[in-house]
Every structure is written in structure tokens, then in C-alpha cells.
């Protein structure tokens, strides 16, 4: 163990501040771009850049795998059983005829202020999960289960209010629900909206 442990908070912070205190300056183009943006009166949008971290120490790296808890799977199975009838009707409707990638949600059962909402995705996929504000945007993605009709479904208990969500297809592809209202964040990423119990 090093003598770093002996540093007081202030001494430790001062040591880091020496490293972090290096100046950062942007070029004179900054004002040119600023004036152009102001004069164009465009909505403010941030660019979507990949977060390549060249130089990230190896010890920081974390495995980038999809984790699904067995308990979540059991809960999901139980939820699906609760809404089987309505779900089957909707899946049958969506699965008939031409099937472009499509998805929708249906409120199935209300328990106090929580509503069981069924998410349905129809399209070619090896795996599908749903992410949204209700599962911290994929901290624990909710997997959809393939049905015999070629649709993917999952039921999620949601509190009353407005929720945003999207599907993740094959682990990487972000697909907003084509049948739901769309919201767009400052990165211009499209998500879908479901309103529950209002």
C-alpha cells in the first residue's frame, strides 16, 4: 500500500488539481461559429460522436455484454401469462398480412397506479429488447420473447404518466416504435412515447 493513503483530502485534491488544472483553449474560430449559429437562429443540437477513448487505461475496461437476471426473466414470464389473451389478439393482428418492422404497446392490466404494458415488435431479428426511462435506458434491458407468429413481446409494469422507450434489435440497432408518437432529444435521437393511465 502506498503513502497516498496518508494524504489529507486537501493535499490529495491539490495533487489532482495540478494535473487537471492544465489550461484548455479553443481557437478563434469559436466566435466565428458562435456568431454564425446565432445569426442562423437554428435550434441547439449536440453532435452525436462515438466516445473513443484512446489512451484509456486497461484496468478501467469493463466487459460490454448484455446481462439479464434470471429473476427478471421469471418476472417477465409471469407478466406475460397475465396478459396472454389480449397479447395474443394483438400479436395475431400485427402478424397478419405484410409485415414490415412494426411495434406497438398495449395497456393490459391495471393494479393500483401501475399498469402492465405490453410491448410488441414485429420484424426480422435474432434478439429484441426494450429500453426506456422505466429501466434506466438499458441498465437492465427488458428482453422480448419471440412468439410463434413472428412477433416479439414483453410486458412491463409502468407507473402512470408519460414514458419514453425504444427497441434494441440484435443487441445494437436502436429502433423507435413506428406506431407510437416520437420524441427527439438534443442528440436528435428518436424515441417513442407511451402515456399510461392519463
Amino acid at each position: 500500500m502506498s503513502d497516498r493513503h496518508l494524504d489529507s483530502d486537501d493535499a490529495f485534491a491539490e495533487r489532482l488539481a495540478r494535473v487537471l488544472g492544465a489550461p484548455e483553449r479553443f481557437g478563434d474560430d469559436f466566435e466565428r461559429s458562435l456568431v454564425a449559429a446565432i445569426q442562423a437562429d437554428r435550434p441547439i443540437r449536440w453532435k452525436l460522436r462515438p466516445r473513443a477513448r484512446v489512451g484509456t487505461p486497461a484496468w478501467w475496461r469493463t466487459p460490454a455484454t448484455l446481462r439479464l437476471s434470471p429473476l427478471a426473466g421469471l418476472a417477465l414470464a409471469a407478466s406475460l401469462a397475465m396478459v396472454a389473451t389480449l397479447g395474443a389478439m394483438r400479436v395475431a393482428r400485427l402478424a397478419s398480412g405484410i409485415r414490415p418492422p412494426a411495434a406497438t404497446v398495449a395497456a393490459a392490466a391495471v393494479h393500483d397506479t401501475v399498469t402492465l404494458v405490453r410491448f410488441v415488435f414485429v420484424g426480422q431479428a435474432k434478439t429484441v429488447s426494450v429500453v426506456g426511462d422505466f429501466n434506466q435506458w438499458g441498465a437492465e434491458p427488458t428482453p422480448l420473447v419471440a412468439t410463434s407468429n413472428g412477433a416479439w413481446t414483453a410486458s412491463v409494469p409502468l407507473a402512470s404518466g408519460r414514458h419514453e422507450y425504444a427497441f434494441i434489435v440484435d443487441g445494437t440497432r436502436w429502433v423507435p416504435d413506428p406506431l407510437a408518437p416520437v420524441s427527439s432529444d438534443d442528440f436528435d435521437t428518436k424515441s417513442s412515447i407511451v402515456t399510461v393511465g392519463l
Partner: protein, 183 residues
């Protein structure tokens, strides 16, 4: 009078009437001072430049709400800090959707300094692991060297909450950086 000789208050009043060049001069006065804070908060130079630009544009559009033009710098700092926080939170949301981030699998490992001292990459990456409140408080206190009173004015949070955040940030940073030096 040359634009560089004008006071902040005078420039703010001109800019509020639509004089973009007056606002460009205000930007030149404060841009460098806030660049480091934005880069350290956001953890990426290009993103930080975008965030600073968007903060300055928001400030221009809200100039009629700058109650004390003589203290334009402090008012602008609030907008910059808020923009950095919003960016960090929304980027985290966006990043979480990339459940299989191939870029991470192709990172180039960088060795830490041979003498065990902290490199900017190590410290910045440790900083990125803190929650946004702690990161902001640590940077304001120890890198930008603001007083707790100034921090409270900028963030709108109480002094004791800010002190707690700084203390927790130090503890977490110490923990994270000890890992790298013990590896």
C-alpha cells in the same frame, strides 16, 4: 471607444439589442476561463466545445433575463455549468443504449506513468466515473478554486450539500486512483 475597452454591462446591453459583435467580445472574454471547466466536466474536447457553444447561444437568447449585466460572467457560468450537467446526463442515457459498444473493445490501453504519478488520462477517467454532482463540485472547488459561496450561487445548492459532494468526490477519486497505482 474600441469594443475591447467597453464594460461587460455595456456589451450586454448592446448584445441584448441584437449587436452580435458585442456578444462575440463577451465570448472572447469568458471563453478561455470556462473552457477548462467544460472539458473536465464533459471529458472530451470536441464535446466540450459543442457544449460551450450551445451554452453561449442559450445565454445570447436569454440576455433579457440577465438581471445584473455587470455580473454577466457569473450569470454565464451558471448557464455553462447547467449545459455541462445536462449534456453529461443525456450522453449517459445515450451511451446506455449502446449495450454492445464495440469501440470499448478496441481501446488502446495506455500505461500509467512509470513513476506512479497521476496522468491526465487517469485522473480524467476517474473523474468521469463520478456522478455529475460530485464531478461538478470537485472541479469548481479544487480546479476552478471557487469559494463555497460562489459555488452555491452558481449551482443553486446549499453550502453543506456542496461540501459533502466535494468530500465524497475526493474519497471516490482516491479509491479509483489507488486501484490504478496498485495494479
Amino acid at each position: 471607444m474600441h469594443v475591447t475597452d467597453r464594460t461587460d454591462a455595456d456589451l450586454v446591453m448592446s448584445a441584448a439589442r441584437g449587436d452580435v459583435n458585442a456578444f462575440a467580445e463577451l465570448s472572447r472574454r469568458y471563453r478561455d476561463g470556462y473552457s477548462r471547466f467544460a472539458v473536465r466536466m464533459v471529458g472530451d474536447r470536441d464535446d466540450a466545445e459543442d457544449v460551450l457553444q450551445s451554452a453561449f447561444i442559450r445565454a445570447y437568447r436569454a440576455l433579457d433575463r440577465c438581471r445584473d449585466p455587470a455580473r454577466f460572467g457569473a450569470w454565464l457560468y451558471q448557464i455553462v455549468a447547467n449545459e455541462c450537467r445536462t449534456f453529461v446526463v443525456r450522453r449517459a442515457r445515450r451511451d446506455r443504449r449502446l449495450v454492445h459498444d464495440e469501440l470499448r473493445l478496441h481501446e488502446t490501453p495506455a500505461a500509467s506513468a512509470a513513476d506512479g504519478s497521476d496522468t491526465l488520462e487517469d485522473v480524467q477517467y476517474a473523474l468521469d466515473q463520478l456522478d455529475v454532482d460530485q464531478r461538478e463540485a470537485f472541479l469548481m472547488k479544487h480546479v476552478e478554486q471557487l469559494s463555497y459561496e460562489e459555488m452555491a450561487e452558481i449551482t443553486g445548492d446549499g453550502i453543506s450539500a456542496l461540501k459533502m459532494r466535494v468530500k465524497r468526490a475526493c474519497a471516490r477519486l482516491r479509491e479509483l486512483l489507488e486501484e490504478v497505482h496498485d495494479v
